[in-house]
């Protein structure tokens, strides 16, 4: 056996990165477009094992066929989880090929969902999902539990507009109980705290709606990274399948959700791809999917969207904003402006 070294791999060092591409292709693993960190194990100058993470999910893990059975994946996983530990990340997820499920179970990972012939999604805690589901149930007022027509919807609301309000209002009218999951990932110009508050204020008058923080299990960096990044359609569909399967398998069952409600999406390609996947997959898990058409702005021609609000904020067009957000959101935004907290929003040019 030759000299073994472990070192970080980056696209800047092309020879290393070319070896990474070669190894992953050889082992039939897709190289993700967005990775936070990649490590490689070399024997002399040949890459024989690799692993990466994106945020808190380990991905693109592979050991060359010529070197399997030597505990190399153990080293890679130790290194990656140690790096995450040093960043304060303790709840770690993992995506890999279904045939490696046993291998990673032996390394202390537990399976959440398996998409046949595609991937297996795992986490390093045994009862995290149980505790999460318990929390969801506990947050739900008793009067709202176990009702025949229960719906669920997931919202980022960056910020909460009349369009979002319309969606929730429709859901509240048509269903006995509505579970509204607020995307917790901090990847939008409005913080989770602000978004949650604006949603809460905006739906306070609806007494059959309960809010839940999404946690890492729905539309998160772990379950649906494409939501936060620009990815090709095939990748989006793959991520969407995972997110939707988790929802149907765990969240919907725990809360008795029979219908997932979503707003029609004329503008965002990623969301459209997601909705398409949902419409196909959810019924196989006994959850139906209802798409509610968008409302348009006062001119009647432009659908109301949060990105429009962000644009109007950059233009300082408070009249324009007032026309497409509920009074509670307007109040919150004005308070943020008074507190000097709108500067980052105004300067941002990202997707979210």
């Amino acid at each position: 056996m030759g000299w073994m070294t472990l070192r970080q791999l980056t696209p800047a060092l092309q020879l290393d990165w070319q070896q990474l591409e070669g190894l992953l292709e050889q082992e039939g693993i897709e190289l993700d477009g967005h990775l936070s960190y990649t490590v490689g194990l070399f024997e002399d100058n040949t890459l024989i094992a690799t692993g990466s993470y994106y945020e808190q999910t380990l991905r693109c893990l592979a050991v060359s066929k010529t070197h399997q059975g030597g505990g190399l994946m153990n080293q890679i996983v130790t290194h990656l989880t140690d790096a995450l530990y040093r960043k304060g990340i303790h709840h770690v997820f993992l995506v890999t090929k279904p045939e490696y499920q046993r291998l990673f179970e032996d390394l202390g990972f537990f399976t959440l969902v398996k998409l046949p012939n595609t991937l297996v999604f795992m986490e390093n805690k045994q009862n995290a999902m149980d505790l999460y589901l318990k929390r969801l149930v506990q947050e739900t007022p008793e009067s709202m539990r176990g009702l025949p027509k229960t719906a669920g919807l997931v919202m980022n609301a960056n910020p909460f507009t009349l369009g979002h309000l319309h969606l929730v209002t429709q859901a509240a009218q048509r269903y006995d109980a509505v579970h509204l999951f607020v995307v917790q990932a901090e990847a939008s110009v409005f913080s989770f705290e602000d978004r949650y508050q604006m949603i809460a204020d905006g739906v306070a008058h609806l007494n059959n709606v309960v809010l839940h923080a999404s946690g890492p299990y729905v539309v998160s960096m772990a379950t649906f990274p494409s939501y936060f990044l620009k990815e090709p359609a095939a990748v989006v569909a793959g991520h969407a399948a995972l997110d939707v399967t988790l929802f149907g398998t765990y969240l919907a069952k725990a809360l008795g959700i029979q219908t997932r409600i979503v707003g029609e999406e004329p503008l965002c390609e990623t969301t459209r791809a997601y909705v398409e996947v949902m419409a196909h997959l959810l019924p196989t898990m006994d959850v139906s999917c209802e798409v509610i058409p968008r409302v348009t702005d006062p001119t009647g021609s432009v659908p109301i969207s949060a990105s429009k609000v962000r644009q109007l904020l950059r233009d300082n067009d408070w009249q324009g904003i007032e026309a497409i957000v509920p009074p509670s959101t307007l109040k919150h935004l004005k308070q943020m402006a008074a507190d000097g907290r709108l500067e980052t929003v105004k300067q941002s040019t990202g997707r979210h």
């Binding site: 505990g71 153990n74 080293q75 996983v77 130790t78 140690d82 530990y85 303790h90 179970e105 032996d106 390394l107 202390g108 390093n124 805690k125 045994q126 009862n127």
Partner: protein
């Protein structure tokens, strides 16, 4: 010893133990163990973990997650102690550390 944060020590290599200690609000010590020799040594491994924690004055309010790859008792003791000191934030403070062998 009071645990303030999550402490971790060890690796997944053969004959080692990877252990994480997390402060919890419960009144017990909960051990979640994954071991390649669970049937033969599961009970022994748990006992050594508990004894080591006890010797450090830790008897409640901890969730222990351990992935065992065939570690000997001395290795378990060493990794548990290291994780505990990291969790307590006094790692490297030799005036409180019981150096033993």
């Amino acid at each position: 010893m009071k645990l303030l944060t999550i402490g971790r020590a060890g690796t997944l290599e053969s004959s080692d133990l990877l252990i994480t200690l997390e402060p919890s609000s419960s009144s017990d010590i909960e051990i979640q163990l994954k071991s390649s020799v669970e049937k033969q040594f599961g009970r022994q491994i748990r006992a050594v973990i508990l004894e080591t924690l006890e010797s450090l004055g830790i008897t409640e309010g901890v969730t222990v997650t351990a992935v065992d790859k065939g570690a000997l008792d001395c290795v378990i003791k060493a990794r548990v102690s290291c994780a505990a000191y990291r969790a307590a934030g006094t790692a490297g403070d030799s005036t409180v550390y019981n150096w033993e062998v």
